[in-house]
């Protein structure tokens, strides 16, 4: 396998529905409206619903993250092949049962259409179907790294069955396929990007090198690396080497 090349096959989801189980075809996705696993004792509920960005004037808890759905098919993060869903994205929101919001510095709870700007690099496209995962903690929770990581992890676990089905889909049936090569330009000035990211505590952290693109499992917290600089290739970045916990 050429370790300089990353192929991303994009499957365009035209039809996203709620049903009894996970099921995916080349153009459609069915998901349950709640996790099929036992949720953590600290949680009261995890509710999942589908949202149309063009019709979303309703109240939400603070937006913890916006997450793409992608999975490794061959190789590791940064090379080989990944299958990715387009036309669908995930918004994770969270609060406790009394309404205390899960955030570090400023909350985005309120009406969804007023609290997010669609069609940016970090937010869903207004043509997407949004999978809104709303996590409610029991009221006696402790706001610390472990609790927040558990919330992000629960959302990741909910998404994993989608990735498992997506993993075995044939790239030939993808709507689009992108090939990214690590191209060198000898003789040109050498340029690097330095990204300074959060690394101080609960909701102020980042995970790197999870097993799945934009995933959590096996990821390493930047805090646990004492915030030391690490080098990532452009393809690792494009392939979801980072999961934000901010």
């Amino acid at each position: 396998m050429n370790k300089n090349t990353l192929t991303i096959n994009a499957f365009s989801m035209q039809d996203v529905t709620i049903g009894p189980k996970y099921h995916i075809t080349n153009t459609s996705l069915e998901i349950p409206d709640h996790p099929l696993f036992d949720i953590d004792d600290r949680l009261k509920s995890i509710k999942v619903k589908l949202v149309d960005p063009k019709d979303c004037h309703f109240k939400i808890n603070t937006i913890m993250d916006v997450i793409p759905i992608s999975t490794k098919v061959l190789g590791n993060i940064g090379y080989g092949m990944s299958n990715t869903l387009t036309g669908v994205s995930v918004i994770l929101t969270g609060a406790d049962e009394t309404g205390v919001q899960l955030h570090e510095f400023g909350s985005s709870n309120g009406y969804l259409d007023e609290k997010i700007k669609f069609d940016t690099d970090g937010t869903p496209s207004s043509d997407d179907t949004i999978i809104l995962i709303d996590v409610t903690l029991k009221s006696d929770f402790e706001f610390n790294r472990k609790t927040c990581e558990m919330v992000f992890n629960s959302a990741d676990q909910f998404l994993q069955p989608i990735r498992e089905e997506l993993k075995v889909m044939n790239g030939r049936n993808a709507a689009e396929s992108f090939e990214y090569e690590d191209i060198k330009h000898p003789g040109k000035p050498k340029v690097a990007v330095v990204k300074e990211v959060a690394g101080q505590g609960a909701m102020y952290d980042n995970m790197v090198f999870a097993k799945e693109p934009g995933g959590i499992e096996k990821g390493i917290s930047i805090i646990d690396m004492d915030n030391m600089p690490i080098l990532l290739s452009a393809n690792e970045y494009r392939d979801g080497a980072i999961h934000a916990l901010v």
Binding site: D121, A192, V194, Q200, G201, Y204, D226, L231, Y237, V246
Partner: protein, 159 residues
């Protein structure tokens, strides 16, 4: 202070990162990669991670770098300190962060004038709208353009 809703980079933002997209695909530069560095609480560690970042870039024989951050306030200390450490190695450095009318630098240095503001809101404030003040492709092009000029001025490339 820290990272507010309108500047925070979501997992989706990192996945589509406009700065990586723009710099990695420019044929006029030899792109080396992304150094990811955290923002520790402790002052000793703040200085240490800045120094370690500069050592990496020096060992990579980097001519120029763009530093970006999604937070403001206390993290300015890390930001300017890391810029200074990189600049002291003779590497051209420009920055991108949220300033607006709300987030003037907590600390200033000779490098602050090479930091571009990513604010997009009319009010120049943390609007608490997710995605509102994020770095976008236009910001990335501006920063890369500025870096190219600075590298020329600093004698990194033959005139």
């Amino acid at each position: 202070m820290g990272i507010g809703p309108s500047t925070k980079e979501t997992t989706m933002h990192h996945f589509h990162d406009p700065l990586v997209r723009v710099v990695a695909s420019d044929p006029d530069v030899d792109f080396q990669g992304v150094i990811l560095v955290g923002t520790p609480q402790d002052n000793y560690l703040k200085n240490l991670v800045g120094r370690r970042t500069a050592f990496w870039l020096e060992a990579m024989r980097t001519n120029g770098a763009i530093i970006s951050a999604d937070g403001w306030g206390n993290s300015d200390v890390d930001f300017i300190n890391t810029m200074t450490e990189i600049g002291d190695k003779g590497i051209s450095i420009v920055g991108l962060k949220f300033i607006g009318k709300q987030a003037g630098f907590v600390v200033e240095s000779e490098h602050t004038k090479f930091v571009l503001d990513i604010n997009k809101s009319k009010s120049g404030t943390e609007t608490e709208i997710v995605g509102d003040n994020n770095l976008n492709e236009k910001d990335a092009h501006k920063a890369l353009g500025l870096l190219k000029l600075k590298m020329r001025k600093d004698g990194q490339v033959p005139k």
